[in-house]
Every structure is written in structure tokens, then in C-alpha cells.
Homo-oligomer: 494 residues x 2
Amino acid sequence: MTEPLRYSQSRPAALTQVPRWDYEADIIVLGFGAAGACTALEAARAGARVLLVESAAGSGGTSALSGGEIYLGGGGGTPIQRAAGFEDATEDLYRYLLMVGGPNADAAKARRYADGSLAHFEWLSAQGIEYKNSYIAERCIEPSTDDCLIWSGSEEAWPFVAQAKPAPRGHCPKFLGMGGGRYVMDVLTRRVVEAGVQVLYNARALALVTDGARDVHGLVLRSEGAERFARARRAVVLCAGGFVMNRDMVRQHAPFLLRSQFPLGTVDDGSGILLGASAGGAMMNMSEGFVTIPWYPPGSMVKGIFVNDRGQRFINEDCYHGRVSNYILRQGGDRIWLLQDHATFAMGEMQTLAKMEIGAAGETWEEVERELQLPEDSLAATVRLYNHYAAQGTDPLFHKAAKWLKPLNEPPYVAIDCRIDHCFYASFTLGGLDSLPTGEVVDADRQPIGGLFAAGRTTCGLPRWGEGYSSGLSLADATFFGREAGRRAATSSR
Amino acid sequence: MTEPLRYSQSRPAALTQVPRWDYEADIIVLGFGAAGACTALEAARAGARVLLVESAAGSGGTSALSGGEIYLGGGGGTPIQRAAGFEDATEDLYRYLLMVGGPNADAAKARRYADGSLAHFEWLSAQGIEYKNSYIAERCIEPSTDDCLIWSGSEEAWPFVAQAKPAPRGHCPKFLGMGGGRYVMDVLTRRVVEAGVQVLYNARALALVTDGARDVHGLVLRSEGAERFARARRAVVLCAGGFVMNRDMVRQHAPFLLRSQFPLGTVDDGSGILLGASAGGAMMNMSEGFVTIPWYPPGSMVKGIFVNDRGQRFINEDCYHGRVSNYILRQGGDRIWLLQDHATFAMGEMQTLAKMEIGAAGETWEEVERELQLPEDSLAATVRLYNHYAAQGTDPLFHKAAKWLKPLNEPPYVAIDCRIDHCFYASFTLGGLDSLPTGEVVDADRQPIGGLFAAGRTTCGLPRWGEGYSSGLSLADATFFGREAGRRAATSSR
């Protein structure tokens, strides 16, 4: 048995034991990623005195590692959607958000976001985030140019297309190349500073401070080598990311993510979630995670088919790369191949990044099958069935759309090795604290905990189901519900 | 916003607010199933004054719904294993327990159980639970006779057989017919009464009582229409089952179980887990669950093959029925068939209970395929490949053992409909509070919470992974770690 820790993120410090207050503010925001920035900004603009606490030496968090893409639409479409010829009804966005939320979707958050997304685009632009009026029709993950609008989810793929009219909704900032998240965070950071938010860098949260009624009154911090006590007159807002870097938590809640050797995050040590839970906040969807191998572009790769180590197909390959990858991780074995023929084969930068390599090649599929040491007529039968129906423009087993169907019948044939224990499978967690659309953290009875709010990956937000995740949802959720939390917290009282 | 509840299982009541103590004991045990009975028994025998609180009007809990089977072995084998010709080394039991625990197995609990299982068998016998010295070699789920020893897991199936020498370890009590769990609980209940445990029936736990340091001091109860306050001088032990009957919790943590329309439980409303979490107890493996369609006996059914709605096989059919069913629920669609030929087909009572019906029949597999409206040469190709290798005594895709391999080539052929939305798929949850082998409930730092213990389904115990579950593990865990918790709690101090 180890000594009990003096302070712990999973055990609140008692208000009566706080020796002094080193800091005081109306609102204390923990974490300076996109959620924390938007929370702080709106709270400060609503008149609150805001202290923003960040464990790193600068702003950005995991948001700055992203492409800066934000999932936006509805209300007939953003100006950029409309210019590209897409009308995007609020109800289509809403239905899509419900679908991507999976069996435990949060209808209230989806409703609020669908209704407010168009105005949110205007707000983001008003902060100074620039968007080029342009659209990329070609399937991609993130533009290498400074273009804006892309297809960033499974909107056109079965089963989503059957329930919501598709539109491209990924809005990338006007930033040349990958990594627009840093640009977005730089813009938001300037606004935060201008708004008079006090920022405390290099400060780690050790524990929440609660009273006998479980209401939250502040934080115990470690800053400049000492314990500091920070009082929040109105509320603490947890915007401290997910838990993908806390491998113990991943093992306890989402062990399938351990198979991904590339967790995407900065700190993401679960501290926001643990702190919230320590005050009674309910955790939800903790087993859900995003995982992906970036196996396209080029788009022609989508005309290939994935097979598992039994030579079986398992998904319509025209859906979002993260959905395909989620299914890959359920196949049991580590070996996965993407089959291509001479006409569809095209490997480039993305496949190099993904560490995808040719695993076998042959003049017949039987030859490929033998080279992969698969049982006789396993993989070959799979291709034969696929080709038979693809020639008729249908995919009765998995419903891949006709535009991606082409018989794989032009030799030579290749099986591209996508094995899980070797290739680049990136991941992050999707579970977190249950919260209301206002940002209030709730307990298992859905009762708000006094003085406690959260936003972004620390919560279980719009992105909460690995099968449904679409690019841009995380920043959409972080920025939009961060704003909501900031506005609400600024006028809250315990 | 609803009014905050006066008392809530997810919000501890403050010790300072307790108006009086209506009950006082050294140990308060919540829940009179197998875990609670064994906890109370050992605590009382260690000299503690014990109050056992049960929400129903009698003892039993969900344990009484079970077959009464307990997973036992190691140490060279129980007398019954040895009489049947099985030596069962402790290390084989340990390795099997580690495997069935999955990626987040608890090595400390597995070790403790493997080392203590043989003595535990003696203890159970000494309580008066009778075991007949007999063995059933035939594959079954639960004996319809009063026989004892059965194969109750995946011990002989791939991949388990490759890592631990198999032995039958399911010990069923000497009780004629199904439902031996009631018999086991009747015996334990008599011992509990004899030991002088005070039992309070029809009493529901409203909240834990904690002090400022988060230590647990008792429970707020609802009994005889009024709030009652029960003081635990040493500890509260939560033995209140799982959460399968709390459909909100299931949706938030293990939504795949919503597809099972037959949750197995009595109360199992998650109250034990919520109470523990309210005092800072960490929850684990909450997404894991057991699910099963009882598709055998007769054992000849195992010679058939399961296919999903794409006509694909997905598992070696010779593993435990719950493992097969866990894979069934991952196949996406609702339609699942069990294919049999004239030689292997045998439907009986169990299949009637399971609501399995013939979905299609034909003189050729192509005919069956057409009748099921599956794409051309999907199911037929699957059977062809299976038969080809089965004739050679191998199953290169799924590693079914040779004794179950027989080409399905004797017409007529049938596809037995096992669809999820129609058939009897029973389920229960496997996630719960993290605890030490001593029963101490721990927080996310694995620090024990003063005055709080738990056992049985309320904890994340030996059975914690749907793919690995084996019959008898739940009662093994509940009785063994209930005893540990009782002994430890009896001498504990905050």
C-alpha cells in the first residue's frame, strides 16, 4: 500500500482545508486548447473575470495539432457551402449528427449545434479565422492547399446517405498546408489576450476544491514548484482534453485503443475527466474511441476492397477513413489488406505516412491468396463475388456506392499490407463527462454539480462514437460548446 | 431542470447532516445475493456485528436465478475433478483466468483465486452445499440432472487451449434440474442466520454517508416508508449486483447490450456501482457485458457453422456459447444463421427456449442461399471452403477443433434463424467498481476509500470481459471475494 497522496485529481480537497487563496477569479478555465479559449473568451466578454490555467508553456493543446477543420452547416448552408452549390438544411445536419452520435447520441446537443452552426461560422470568422471561398470535390483527409470546404465524414456513404441529404461540411481555415489547427489557436489566443483573460501557464491542476455539499469552489494547482490555491467565485470549467495519453485509463475503459500505437494528443492525461468525476460528474461512452489509418487519398484507393485475415470483406470502403479503421480494429487478427488492381492502384505520400506496403502481388487473385498464405478460395472467392456484382454496379453485401464500384480484374493485382501492429493507426478517446448543452457537468441523476462546467474532449460531446466520427466534429464541439459554457458560467451561481 | 433530490445514490450524504442513527453495526452489507451472504458470514464469524440490508423481501438476489454453478479448480483438482480423471494445476487455472479477463485482466485477483480455489471448494462444501461426485462429458449449459462437473467455458477451444491445459471446472450443486442457484442461496441463507447476522429486508439504499475526508460511515436507507440512518462502525460492503436493469446506465456504458431483449437480473439497477462511485470509487470495464443465445445442447449443433447476414463465418463454433454470442452481436446486422446438414441437425428444448426456428432449407446450399436472399455464391462459398478443409480435419480460418469438424454435405440442409431481434439473447453487465482482492474499493489512483468495500457483480471481478466469460465465474467471484471482503472489513478501520 502506498501512502495516500496529499492531493489527487480523484479526490477533491475540502474547502475548509484551503489555507489561503493565491488566485481569485469569477471563472477558472482549465486548459487552453480550443474549448478553453472559446470558454474564456465568451466568459470574459460577458463581464466575468477569467483565469485560464494551462499545464503547457503556451496555448494550443491538442487542438493545435489538428488540421483546424470545423464541421459546420445547416440553415441552408454556410456561404462557402452555398457558393459550392450545396444547400444544407438544418434538419439534415441534425439527422447526421444524431447518426454519428450512435446508440447514445445526445439529441439536445445535436439540436443546439444544428440550430446554431451557421451563426457559429460567422462568429469564428468574426474572431479573425479566415476561410477561402473554395471547395475540393476530390476525396481527401486534409487539404495540402489553403482551400476550405471538404467532404470530411461518411455523408455520402451507406447507411448515412439513406437518412440525411449529404453535404460537405468540413471547413478548413485559409492556411497553406496541413496543421491549420495551430493557426486557429493562434487567432483565438490573440482574442483571449485582448479580452483581458489572465493566463497562467505551466500550472497543473492537482485537485478540485469542494464544499460539504459537493459544490466546486476552485482548484489546487502546482505552479512554480509550489501548491497554489485558486478560487473560482462562480465556476470552474474543465477543458483539459481526453485521456488517450493515460494508458491506465485507456486499459480500464477503452482497451481496444491500446492496439493503436499512435495516440494523438498533447497532455490528454484524463485529468479533466478525473477531476470532474471526483466531484460526482458522471462519465459516459468511456469505451469509445477514434482510430484511423489514413489510407486515402488518392481517391482511387476507395475503389479497392479491404479484407481481414480470413480474406473476408467487412465494410463499404467509401465511408470515412476513421469508420473503416474502427471496423478494421474489430476484425480480430492483426493482418488487414487493401486489395487493388492495376487500374486502381496508386500509392503516394499518405500511404508512406501510414507505413502501408505491398504485402503480395500476382497475375491472378489465387496467386495473391497463396502468397498471403490464406486458405484456398478464401480471398479469391471474396474478390470473385465483389467483381461479379461490381460489374453490375451494385454491392449487395456492403452497399458501397456505384461511383466507387469497379471490378478488380486488371492484373497485376496487389494486396497492400495494413497490419495493425505495424502501420500508422492514430487514435484518441471519445468518452468523457456527461454535461448539458450549457456546459454544466451532471451526475448520474443528470443533476448539475454546483460550480462545475466542462467543454471539449473532457466531455462526452457531439463526437462520441468511433463508428460515426467525422473530421471537424471535435473542434466544432469544443468551440461551440466552449462558448456556451463560457456564457453560462459567467452568470452562474452555486 | 428538476428539483435536486434530497438523497441520491450518486451524491453522498454528509455525516454532519445525519440527524440520528436508527441502526448501528460494525459492518453493513448491502445486498443478500451470494456476495453479500458470504461477506456477512465471514465478517460475523470474525466477530463483527453485521447488518445485512436487502431491497427484496427475501434473500437470493440474481444469484438465486442462476444455475448455482461455481468455477473451481487448481491445486491438482477438486476431488470431483480428480475422480473424473482430470488433474488441474493451479497455473493452468491462473492462465485461463488471465485469458478470460481480457486486455484489462486483474492479475492479483486471478492469482488469489487460483491459489485459493481448492480451499474454497472445501469451504463451500463445509457450508452444506452438496456436490455429487459425477462428471458430464457431453457439452451442456447446465445439467438437467443433479450431476456436478461440466465443461462450462472455452477451455478446450482455440485460442484458450493453446495457452492453458484444459479441465472441466464448472461445479454444479447436487440439485435436480435447472436453477441450483436458489438451492445454493438457501444453504448460505441458513448459515447467515445461524451466524447471528441481522437482516433488514425491504430496505433500499438512498445514499452513502461520508465525512469531509470522503470516508464512508454508513447508509441512508428507505425502510418501512421512512428514511433511516444506518451507521457502519467499520465499513459498508456493497454487494448489490450489476446494472443491466438500469437501461440508462446500459445506454451510457454498454449500449450493445440494448440489443439483448432479455436482461438477466433481479434488481441490478446499478445502485451498488453508483453508491461506490459517489464516494470516489473508480468504475472499470463498464462497456463489457455477457450475452448469450443458448444454442446448444445437443452437442451435435456445434458441428454446424454460424454465418452472418453476408453469409460469412466469424468464429470457431466449439467455444463457449457466450463467446459465440458476443461475436454474433458484433456482426452488424440482426440476421444470423446456424447452418446444419441432415447428419448434424438436432433441435430440442434448448432451441425452443432460444426461439430458434428454421429459416431456410434446401437440397443444395445454393438453394438455401437463394431462400435467404443472400447474394450469389456468398453463403455457398463459405460452406464450400469449410467443407473442403473439414474433410481434411482442419479449420484454417477459425481453428475449430478436429472433433467438431464434419463437412456439411448430407442434404437436406437447413439455416436455423438466430436473429437478434427475435431470439432469446440473455445478457448481464460485467463492468463495475475497481477493487483490490481484499474487497477494498479504490479510486482512480488505486487508493482505497476509507470504510468502503465491495464484492460480486458490483465490482469488476474475475468475470469482466464478454469474450472470455465462462459459466460459474460470477458465483466463484461473488462467493470467494465476498468472503475476502467480509474477513478484511471485519478488522478494518478508517
